[in-house]
Amino acid sequence: MKMLFILAWRNLWRNKRRTLITASSVFFAVILALVAESMTKGSHEAMISNMVKLSTGYLQLQDSLYEDEPSVDHAFMYDDTLKQIIRQTSGIAYVVPRFESFMLAATEKSTRPVMLRGVDFEAENRLNDMGHKLLEGTSLEAGDQAVLLADGLAERLKMDVGDSIILVGQGFRGMSAAGIYPVKGIMKISLPRLNDQLIFMPLAATQQLFGAEERLTALLITPEEKEQTDLLAQQLRDQLDPKWFKVLTWKQMMPTLLQSLELDRASGMMIIYMLYLVVGFGILGTVLTMMLERQREFGILLSVGMKRSQLALITFVETVFISMIGVAAGLVGGFPVILYMHHHPIRFGEEMEAMFETYGMEAVMPFALDLQVFSSQAVVVLLITLVIGLYPVLKVFRMNILKAARN
């Protein structure tokens, strides 16, 4: 047995150059695949986390009817029973209560539909560092009867700090909601769609405006581990009466984002698989030549009493060795590259920076440092190798000993 492996190993180095060229093609393919995958994964993660932070949160607890009909009438009671359940569920880092509704904003000159978001600023800041993006004015205290405007909206309404804004809308269960509030600050929101319509108000003032004390339209829940989102959602669902409550994950709330990311990933994978296909044919070529060159040797080996299965094993192991050298080198060589890129991501130029900033993202190409990316590449290449390795095995089993020995 050991002899067979020694033979396979030494056979590889009979033609060092060829083996090295073949192995390096695997090496480069693996490195390229690692870089491409880590880049895709990194940018997707950044996009998701950005979307999640600014709009939906990882998990949302809603009234069971709110998703289909997002009206304030479907705001739920955030009472002690519910708070108790949340407190007793493990794996929750913190919660972010919101009361959100569309309203009409009026100034002396114009009216616009706006999105009023009643928030607990402290909790909101934990989720998305909202405070850092205050452009003008001051932030709000929990007891304030005042608002902050997103800067896109402020521009459209031509309002500034110190002006007053009139908000009119439908209150809870048929009540009317209307009020006039001073603008205390202007904020930058890193999602263009939201930046044109968002108004922040302290949660208490909002609930009061709508006549919906203690009620929320959504409770955002941040899990301790992002990966635990689905699990946590399930735990909450088990504890809450589905007649009244619905627990949604960001995946359920942003299905189109998820789809487009998956499409992007799939097209990236296609290119990588094509690369692997080319590399695979390269290995096959080498393996084929190695077979042809040794017809006579194989004939002699089989004549003197080597079993076909033993000879087949040698050729198979040779194939696996070649690609394993490439894969191992690729993984080992790729790791520091990805590690470096993870900590020192590529910075984009200034024009790009502006575009990235509108989306609230750093103008960098983030690299994910995920061991799964490494292991999946290794598995893919080894699978391809196993398939290629079958070719010489079949050949050996079909070989005519005499014809081979006569070559």
């Binding site: 002699i300 080597m306 005499l402």
Partner: protein, 229 residues
């Protein structure tokens, strides 16, 4: 009792297209410890006969008894095992595995036979010394002359003490001196180890070295002479 016996052994190539009768009703018996050469003009069937005896090819008719076992009735898997345990082979050239050293090449068959490691090492050294290559144990085939390579091949064939050794034109690619030298070694090993040895040749220089000379013409035995020893 004969180690090998052929009964009505015939081989026809291309039976369906243009039949070539390579062996025609050959009846031969080889005793334990014989040293035999098979001679005859090119195309007379020497290689064909050796291939049949070695179980590398199936006859068209007739049987081959080796120690009373009819090897023509064995399945390919059994034949491979049979060859491994009972027959030694020396081919015309490029016998050796290029990536293995002389001593590894000689050990190779014993390893396939799963002999104990210690015994293998000892035997491989011993037999390489007997063929005069005690100082080239770790040389690769490419570092050896043609004659030395053939000596390693002979050592490999005999190392596992098979029932008999078949050598098809082992001297064909050697100069006169190396050819004589190889035959001397084969003869010595045949004597010392009492291993039956059959080699084919059309090389007049080495024919006389054999104690028994079988001449084939057109696939039939034309003469079978004993020179004694």
């Amino acid at each position: 009792m004969a180690v090998i016996e052929t009964i009505g052994l015939s081989k026809i190539y291309n039976e369906t297209i243009v039949p070539v009768k390579a062996l025609n009703e050959v009846n031969l018996a080889f005793e334990q410890g014989e040293f035999t050469s098979i001679v005859g003009p090119s195309g007379s069937g020497k290689t064909t006969l050796l291939n049949m005896l070695g179980g590398l090819d199936k006859p068209s008719s007739g049987s081959i008894l080796i120690n009373q076992t009819d090897i023509t009735k064995l399945k390919e898997r059994q034949l491979i095992d049979y060859r491994l345990r009972h027959i030694g082979f020396v081919f015309q050239s490029y016998n050796l595995i290029p990536v293995l050293t002389a001593v590894e090449n000689v050990s190779f068959i014993m390893l396939l036979q799963k002999q104990p490691r210690k015994a293998i090492d000892q035997r491989a050294r011993e037999i390489l010394e007997q063929v005069g290559l005690g100082d080239r144990l770790n040389a690769r085939p490419a570092q050896l002359s043609g004659g030395q390579q053939q000596r390693v091949a002979v050592a490999r064939a005999l190392a596992s003490r098979p029932d008999f050794v078949l050598a098809d034109e082992p001297t064909a690619n050697l100069d006169t001196q190396s050819a004589f030298n190889l035959l001397d070694i084969m003869e010595k090993l045949n004597r010392d180890e009492n291993i039956t040895l059959i080699f084919s040749t059309h090389d007049q220089r080495v024919i006389e070295r054999a104690r028994r000379v079988i001449t084939l013409v057109d696939g039939a035995v034309a003469s079978d002479e004993n020179h004694g020893s």
